[in-house]
Symmetry: C2
Subunit: 234 residues, 2 copies
């Protein structure tokens, strides 16, 4: 038995935990993920590249990935951070000859369930509740982009604060005070359209004030209220 299938079989129990598969039997999940693979991505490995033809979609099983795009200036703009349980690429599967609209790169060691487009066209498309779940994920993402857009004119501190709060809320356990993904200042900057230095100036001020604390890429929030205050302040 090839390695990939073995890994899929052994992952079945894990898969049934994810909200997208809630209420599906093991057999149903197995059929939906037929020929799928659990991919291990080391830190900074790129899973899909912007513009490539999209033969696969899938779901983040552990860790996190950033969705990014090259800017005309040559650097990257991070469009979205995907975390555990997020679906990637599913909503372009129905297009004729879909191409990835963003590059997908691991942030820290991560695992991804990679499913052939075939499956989408054959199985997923027909399950209207499956499509609706995907649509809900997509619409959450959309609404998050909207919130971010509402802050364009706000000072940088507000944007950073909003990003932190958003990422914090992704945790299942809503009491958690640690961001669910390793995040460098550069990545924050690339997501907000700011420079690294400016982000650093904002965040080291907060560190001094004791609002947050970072130990190698892990950001811990000490005074959440204070951070939330920054969003409104102007």
């Amino acid at each position: 038995m090839p390695d990939t299938q073995k890994s899929l079989k052994s992952a079945l129990a894990e898969l049934s935990q994810f909200s997208i598969f809630q209420g599906f039997s093991s057999a149903a999940i197995e059929s939906l993920c037929h020929e799928g693979q659990v991919i291990f991505s080391p830190h900074r490995e790129t899973l899909f590249r912007f513009g490539e033809e999209a033969h696969f979609f899938g779901m983040v099983m552990s860790g996190a990935y950033k969705l990014s795009r090259a800017t005309p200036q040559g650097d990257d703009a991070i469009v979205h951070f995907t975390t555990v349980g997020d679906v990637v690429g599913a909503f372009i599967m129905a297009q004729e000859k879909p191409c990835y609209p963003v590059s997908v790169t691991a942030m820290g060691p991560s695992r991804f369930l990679k499913i052939p487009r075939q499956n989408y066209l054959r199985d997923w498309k027909q399950h209207s509740d499956l499509i609706l779940r995907i649509q809900n994920l997509l619409s959450t993402r959309m609404s998050q982009m909207h919130s971010q857009k509402a802050l364009i004119k706000a000072p940088l501190a507000a944007k950073v604060a909003a990003l932190i709060v958003d990422l914090l809320h992704r945790h299942e356990d809503s009491e958690a005070l640690v961001l669910p993904l390793p995040l460098t200042r550069r990545e924050i900057a690339d997501n907000l359209g700011a420079s690294v230095e400016s982000v650093i100036r904002v965040m080291s001020e907060w560190s001094k004030q004791g609002f947050i604390q970072t130990t190698d890429q892990q950001i811990r929030i000490l005074k959440l209220e204070k951070v939330i205050d920054q969003i409104q302040k102007y």
Copy 2:
């Protein structure tokens, strides 16, 4: 026969033109839009308001609407411009108690097909190809937001140019050189997160150069290549 139903009946022929209803029979469309109304919105009338419970979704039949959100500073951020054929609010219909994530306001006199949420839950949800079409519209919108995000660090001129080019491409006939909606400098500014004055400075320069020309809110592009150049230039 009440006025609203009459207007729906008489609109059936028109409805069948829209891509979302392609391939559906008159009877099918009528059932999908059962109890729907064609709403006429005068300029600047607000159809839905941010945060309100969403009892309706629908489609732009003529004119255009802006989707906006209040910023913490009190002014509005325009999140998206919807034009003819766009669907509004459909992707939140499947949520338990959906609320509009944006306000929807007419730009110039417009018409909107307003459909009760009921219909979505009863009919639309089951038609998986209908959902897929909506998903495609949504994913187009998403990808447009991504492009815009890739330009955050670009100079204002590039953002304005990109917006104009994007709106121009919405026309069925791709040769058209007039924007498909009346657009004030303030709306452009609110969409890009810039100040009115800055937008004006960029655009009046282009007018002087003869790239564009505006006669009461109607923006005509005279030298498309020159405008496109602005996106890359930095």
